[in-house]
């Protein structure tokens, strides 16, 4: 069984722009799979479609279950989506309430929730941050709390939109280590190719809504001609 | 125009609170009935928007500057009852955290600025066939009316002589009303140029 199977995915915006033109790929269970491409390639759109947040044509299967209006609620219980902007992800007045939001909606009993929150904050290295307010956190801390808000739901698949963007070098390094520690299927959308080299087994290269290549990380990210033909450059470490 | 505690007598407090919270509870029930889940974050962030925008100082003629109240603006964008809930919550937050307006006088302040601005203001806007011009007229009327109501409440409470205060406060707010009117018109115009679809939001 594959974690995700996407076939012939199409999406058009309300104003007529076609953002995804028949994309197909698959993701193995517990694999870290990244989606790269120049701006406007459709990477974030793809992520939103996988979450069922936008309408699409084509087929998406999550753990063999077809994603549609009926199955979406069930499927979302296994997904953890982390937005690029943590201010979109942290909408409660304090960290505890944000991290507890998911588990509460999942129906976990009240007594277990504080343990779940504690554990999630521990994993991201922010133990004791329960009573802090999001607007008093540093950007790096906000990004980590964002991750905690979905880790508390114990998702089978994590979907991350530009997880390391705007992080200073140390926060970035810590976040990459954090990603490496969390063991589950991960889909990462990003421009940070060095991060992708360090975290992902396989990569999907998109350009103008079309799949250009899908394969092992190093096969794609060491291919200078392929990257440059698609508006990207070799990762710094190469 | 946010009346602080201590400026109204007991009777006025009871009456204004009864009216305002009556309307507010009705608005909450009405909005809850057909509530699309997306409307909750929309109302929440819009409330933050109004709360923030009210801090801005708009320069007008002769060295004066005014602040936006936004009752008509919000009702045109999100509908009269959502607007009332948002304005009321903004007033509640201002009273609680900034002591801008009192707690027991919330009824009066919500009546003057919330119900006047959002419900009556919306009616006037509709009377003018939902045009930006109508919104501007509504904005002016609601500000002068709010000042007048404020004077009446203070007058009944024996803090100021009713008739004199009524004329002087309403008169003093004619210019403020014009400012509100211009700001409301200009903001709605700006929105209609960039995202005209958002002006039909209240239909949700």
């Amino acid at each position: 069984m594959k974690a995700i199977e996407v076939e012939d995915l199409h999406h058009t915006y309300l104003d007529g722009t076609i953002s995804l033109k028949g994309v197909s790929f698959s993701v193995k269970v517990n694999e870290t799979f990244s989606v790269i491409g120049p701006n406007g390639a459709g990477k974030t759109t793809l992520l939103l479609a996988l979450c069922g947040l936008i309408p699409f044509k084509g087929s998406i299967k999550i753990f063999d279950q077809v994603l549609n209006n009926r199955s979406i609620k069930e499927i979302r219980k296994n997904l953890g989506f982390v937005s690029q902007d943590p201010d979109d992800q942290l909408f409660m007045p304090n960290v505890y309430d944000d991290v507890a939001f998911g588990p509460k909606n999942l129906g976990f009993p009240e007594e277990e929730i504080s343990e779940i929150v504690k554990e999630a904050l521990q994993v991201v290295g922010l133990a004791g941050f329960e009573t802090r307010s999001p607007h008093h956190l540093s950007f790096g801390e906000k990004k980590r709390v964002s991750l905690a808000t979905v880790l508390s739901m114990k998702p089978k698949i994590l979907l991350l939109d530009e997880p390391t963007s705007n992080l200073d070098p140390r926060s970035r390094r810590e976040f990459i280590e954090l990603l490496q520690r969390v063991k589950c299927t991960k889909i990462i959308v990003g421009h940070d190719l060095d991060m992708i080299v360090k975290t992902s087994q396989r990569v999907l290269l998109l350009n103008e809504g079309k799949k250009i290549a899908e394969g092992e990380t190093l096969d794609i990210l060491k291919n200078k001609e392929l990257l440059e033909a698609n508006g990207l450059e070799l990762p710094g470490s190469f | 125009m946010h009346i602080p505690d201590g400026f109204l007598n007991t009777e006025t407090i009871i009456i204004t609170n009864a009216i305002s919270f009556g309307f507010l509870i009705y608005a909450v029930k009405k909005v809850n009935r057909n509530l699309h889940p997306a409307r909750i974050p929309l109302m929440g962030v819009t409330a933050a928007f109004i709360f923030t925008s009210q801090l801005l100082s708009f320069p007008l003629i002769g060295g004066t500057s005014f602040h936006l109240l936004g009752g008509v603006l919000i009702s045109v964008l999100l509908g009269p009852f959502s607007g009332l809930i948002i304005m009321s919550t903004s007033l509640i937050l201002q009273a609680i955290l900034l002591q801008h307006g009192g707690i027991l006088t919330l009824g009066a302040n919500i009546l003057n600025m919330g119900i006047g601005g959002c419900l009556l203001g919306y009616l006037i806007y509709k009377l003018f066939k939902s045009t930006l011009f109508g919104a501007a007229i509504a904005a002016w009327i609601t500000i002068v009316l709010a000042a007048g109501l404020c004077a009446v409440e203070l007058g009944i409470s024996g803090r100021v002589p009713l008739k004199t205060a009524l004329f002087s406060m309403s008169g003093a707010h004619i210019l403020a009303g014009i400012a509100e009117s211009l700001i409301t018109f200009a903001v709605l115009s700006a929105i209609s140029k960039i995202r005209p679809d958002l002006l039909a939001l209240e239909k949700t």
């Binding site: 979450c51 998911g102 | 929440g44 409330a47 928007f49 948002i86 100021v160």
Partner: protein, 209 residues
């Protein structure tokens, strides 16, 4: 705007900070009502005033902060003072009593909100029966105020860097445009927040905070 606090001093620790929020809210409200309905005797207010002063002292809230906040009633106070002559000999008494009641109310509110974290205040209000939609809106308002102020400041700064003349009309229309853009940004943000909420199981049912 990272260091701007709406609920300043609520992170301190004192005996007052440790009192349960529900008790503080009910007591504050009861006191406000008492101030309004009690007979207008000076000694009544003096006891209340001394009590509040004592609480402020042990709560570690600076007096200067309290005094500064009281200035918020100045416009209305001036209004009443202007009209003193209309009430002949009662005028000063009215103005004085009004000021005292106002002052007592402000100190009470400052005590309440400066010794209670906002999220706890909301939780307490919810348990006292305030409708959930109002609690949620208050919560979002508090949370996104700082985000929007940041966005507003960025836009204002950008305009300042590009304008060289001081034209009142232009400033007015630029500000109105900024407010319009701010609304659009708020709307778009609310859509993204809704996405985040849906992904974490939100289906419209406002569960207990």
């Amino acid at each position: 705007m990272k260091h701007f606090y709406l609920d300043k001093y609520s992170y301190l620790d004192s005996p007052v900070h440790r009192i349960r929020p529900v008790i503080k809210i009910v007591a504050s409200f009861a006191f406000l009502i008492y101030v309004i309905i009690s007979p207008e005797k000076w000694w009544n207010y003096s006891i209340g005033f001394l009590g509040l002063l004592f609480l402020i002292f042990i709560s570690k809230i600076p007096f200067s902060f309290v005094v500064k906040r009281t200035m918020v009633i100045l416009p209305f106070l001036i209004l009443v003072i202007i009209f003193i002559p209309f009430f002949n000999e009662n005028g000063i008494k009215i103005a004085g009593l009004t000021f005292i009641k106002s002052f007592l109310s402000i100190i009470t509110l400052i005590l309440l909100t400066s010794t209670t974290k906002f999220s706890e205040l909301l939780r307490a209000l919810s348990s006292l029966g305030v409708p959930r939609i109002i609690i949620l809106i208050l919560s979002f308002m508090y949370r996104y105020f700082f985000v929007l102020v940041d966005e507003l400041e960025k836009m204002l700064r950008a305009v300042k860097l590009r304008s060289f003349k001081n034209n009142r009309f232009k400033t007015f229309s630029i500000l109105a445009n900024i407010v319009g853009v701010l609304f659009i940004r708020s709307y778009e943000r609310s859509e993204r927040v809704y996405n985040a909420m849906s992904m974490r199981g939100f289906d419209g049912e406002i569960k207990k905070l």
